[in-house]
Amino acid sequence: MPPSDAVALDNPVDRRPELILRSPTFAAITDAVAEPLEKPTPIGWWFFFLPAVGLLGLLGVAVSWLFWEGIGIWGLNVPVGWAWDITNFVFWVGIGHAGTLISAILFLLRQRWRTSINRAAEAMTIFAVMCALLFPGIHVGRVWVAYWMFPLPNQMGTWPNFRSPLLWDVFAVSVYGTVSALFWYVGLIPDLATMRDRSKTTVRRLVYGLFALGWRGSNRHWQHYESAYLLLAAMSTPLVLSVHSIVSMDFAVSQLPGWHTTIFPPYFVAGAIFSGFAMVITLMVICRTAFKLEHIITLRHFDYMAKVILLTGSMVGYAYGMEFFTAWYSGNPYEMFTFTNRALGPYAWAYWTMVSCNVFFPQVFWFRKARTSIPILFVMSILVNIGMWFERFVIIVTSLHRGFLPSSWGYFTPTIWDVSCLLGSFGLFFTMFCLFVRFVPMVATAEVKTVLPQADPHHVPKGAHAGFGAGQAEA
């Protein structure tokens, strides 16, 4: 094992270990992140991009056919009126939440390790929200009157029903997408200026320069910038909690057993962060090797991400336990039936996939070796996302397919178009992400520089660097 990786694996209790390995200079960070964008497109990128575009094409076909023929091309029936469409919506919104958590909440908690991954995670959020917004948009049936969802004065004198959670979703997810995009862009401005100043061609200089807004690193600008960043982070934190809570309210405000339960809002938020971090791990495992950024996105970063997965997975497990206990405790026969049906009924295969992937397998992350093993991390991250997709599927479909009226009981089977829409959404996501890593610095270069020891103005360059607070205490 190279010595730098060994350093990445230690976890001392009396020192703040180096986050960035190989002690790079500021210029080395800039070069490491910017050079891949300035070289010709590597073959490997096409291996990801072309299939993604293919799937995006599939999405185009599926959605066009959906608009033309109608929702009937999906497997929806009575009683299961919501299935893959809403599962996919909640799945993608959930994934997006990790980006905001990394950008905003870890910023407020002063976790400096976030700087290596926050740019890519925020981009992931924006693309995930795009995929998420797709599904409620296309599932309405008469897409050509989708504008009815917005409070626009019209000749009929009608207004949306603001008291419906479906409308809260419109506002919540739109606001979330907007604020995430704004937060991501604001964070990008200094790095776009870096790209502008390095540009060798006029086209690059003009394009990067246009979007860099003329940023010149002025400290008077940095002051307002940092204040805006902190305020955006402070607002994004309740935003991310509220968005997935509102999404959970699509179900929780109903009266259906398995849907109507008070723990849904925090439970959904924990689950969202759980799946989102898993997607970040999936993406970072690939990107750090592809772009040779292993010294910036280190095994320590994966260690921390895996711990977050363990924490949020435990919260999800806690919620499963509370639901189960309360289903019994309530003495409500419908609640009890719903939960036994989940575990033992026709969808038991989905339920046990969910429980295995969300509760059993993540326990491996109690062990440091697992948290810092790239193969285990990659496999686990995919399993977690499979588990979380199934969680939404189990929640939605098992409560619907066997409701209060046994004569209406049914079973949902997906059609080829359900599958196409899901696969196609991955196409949209990966197409956007491939374009992102090709043209935009995928690491927040300016932020990573701030966590290097030489960024501290009280840092004594040739002095001993040991112990907590040594630099500042000697100031």
Partner: protein, 402 residues
């Protein structure tokens, strides 16, 4: 006592001077406790039911503060937080009071029949109570209570002892390592025991009612209350013996936590209310119906405004959090609101017509809070106020919010 060099602190430099207000806590607490207990016991005969509720009300208030401190300590270790080391010993002193809550639990035990409908003999005829009997029966209740106290006291004592073992030097980093390693499973254990304790002691007061988020709600309130208490203990120390060691920066951070968890409490509290209100199922709304009629309606409104809106705007700005006196006012307010929150949960059982803080309730508060303060004060007096041997102490002392 002004600035002490950050690199070397000896335990003798950071002990509580005998004449400090906080050093008198044990005596003050003991006097209050004896007075409260005497008054309470003398009034009990006339209305044992009201006494039981008053005692449970005061008991849960004190217990939640101790539980909050335990969570705080565990989270600081699990996350290897640097800022909090300078104030962690205060939290350990609060958590160290945990064992007395096992003793203070006795009046709750004696009052079980008054407090819990399921504990009465008539419950055997009621179908829903019969259904819940495998969980809600006296024997299992007692076993669970014993388990909670063993776990909580065990954790509190272990963490206090391990931290103290570093004070004299020579222990090295081994205690920090084991405190950190044990923290994540300890958090899980604490979360589960606290959830079921809240179900047993608070939720089962209305045994037909249930809410899956209740454990989280209970935790949220306890954590806010704890930060209020932490602020009130740290502020006089920042003025006094720990001046220059605990700084405005630490107070600012405590204030931020107070703000953040006020918001978290409001989020959980609103979610619980909102989902039950929207679903409008009588089985669930009964809990809120009891608290939205008569005198309780005003209390509910006061809770929404006072436990959220007022501290939200008060603690939002930087200035308040950096001025000890202003922060102290906020902390007192938040603690009073937490008191109100617990009363709102417990007291509709004994006073359905409205909130009544009478002599019985006051006596119970004096008894429980007095004992609690006495224990905390005793812990503060008998050890260094700062974990001088903690390897992350230097970082904490140099801590600065930009």
């Amino acid at each position: 006592m002004s600035h002490i060099p950050a690199t070397t602190l000896r335990p003798e430099q950071v002990t509580l001077p005998a004449r400090h207000l906080l050093a008198r806590l044990p005596v003050i607490g003991l006097v209050l406790a004896i007075a409260g207990l005497g008054l309470g016991l003398s009034l009990r005969a006339a209305n044992p039911r009201a006494f039981a509720f008053a005692w449970l009300n005061a008991y849960l208030f004190g217990l939640t503060l101790a539980l909050g401190s335990m969570f705080f300590i565990l989270i600081q270790h699990a996350t290897q937080a640097g800022w909090s080391v300078a104030v962690r010993r205060i939290a350990e002193a609060v958590a160290g009071a945990m064992p007395i809550f096992a003793v203070l639990f006795l009046p709750v035990l004696f009052g079980m029949g008054d407090l819990f409908p399921w504990a009465r003999p008539e419950a055997a005829n009621e179908p829903l109570m019969k259904w819940k009997a495998p969980y809600l029966n006296t024997q299992f209740f007692l076993v669970r209570a014993a388990v909670y106290f063993v776990v909580w006291s065990g954790l509190a004592i272990y963490y206090a002892r391990a931290s103290r073992s570093q004070d004299q030097g020579g222990a090295g980093t081994a205690p920090s390592l084991s405190m950190r390693r044990f923290a994540p499973p300890a958090i899980l254990l604490l979360a589960i025991t606290q959830t079921f304790a809240s179900i047993d002691w608070a939720m089962s007061l209305s045994p037909t009612w249930y809410s899956t988020v209740f454990g989280v709600y209970f935790f949220a309130g306890s954590f806010v209350g704890f930060f209020g208490l932490l602020a009130l203990l740290v502020i006089p120390l920042e003025r006094g013996p720990l001046h220059g060691i605990v700084t405005i920066e630490h107070l600012h951070d405590v204030g931020k936590h107070l703000f953040a968890f006020t918001c978290f409490w409001a989020y959980i509290g609103f979610c619980q209310f909102f989902l039950i209100w929207y679903g409008n199922i009588p089985e669930e709304t009964a809990f809120y119906q009891a608290r939205l009629h008569g005198g309780w309606r005003a209390v509910s409104a006061l809770l929404a405004v006072g436990h959220f809106i007022v501290p939200f705007f008060y603690l939002m700005g930087r200035t308040v959090k950096r001025k000890p006196r202003l922060l102290a006012i906020g902390a007192v307010w938040v603690l009073l609101m937490h008191l109100l929150d617990i009363a709102w949960i417990v007291l509709p059982g004994s006073h359905p017509e409205g909130l009544r803080i009478g002599l019985l309730e006051i006596a119970a508060y004096l008894a429980v809070i007095g004992s609690f303060l006495a224990a905390v004060g005793w812990n503060l007096r008998r050890q260094a106020l700062v974990p001088v041997g903690d390897p992350r102490l230097r970082e904490s002392l140099a801590f600065e919010i930009s």
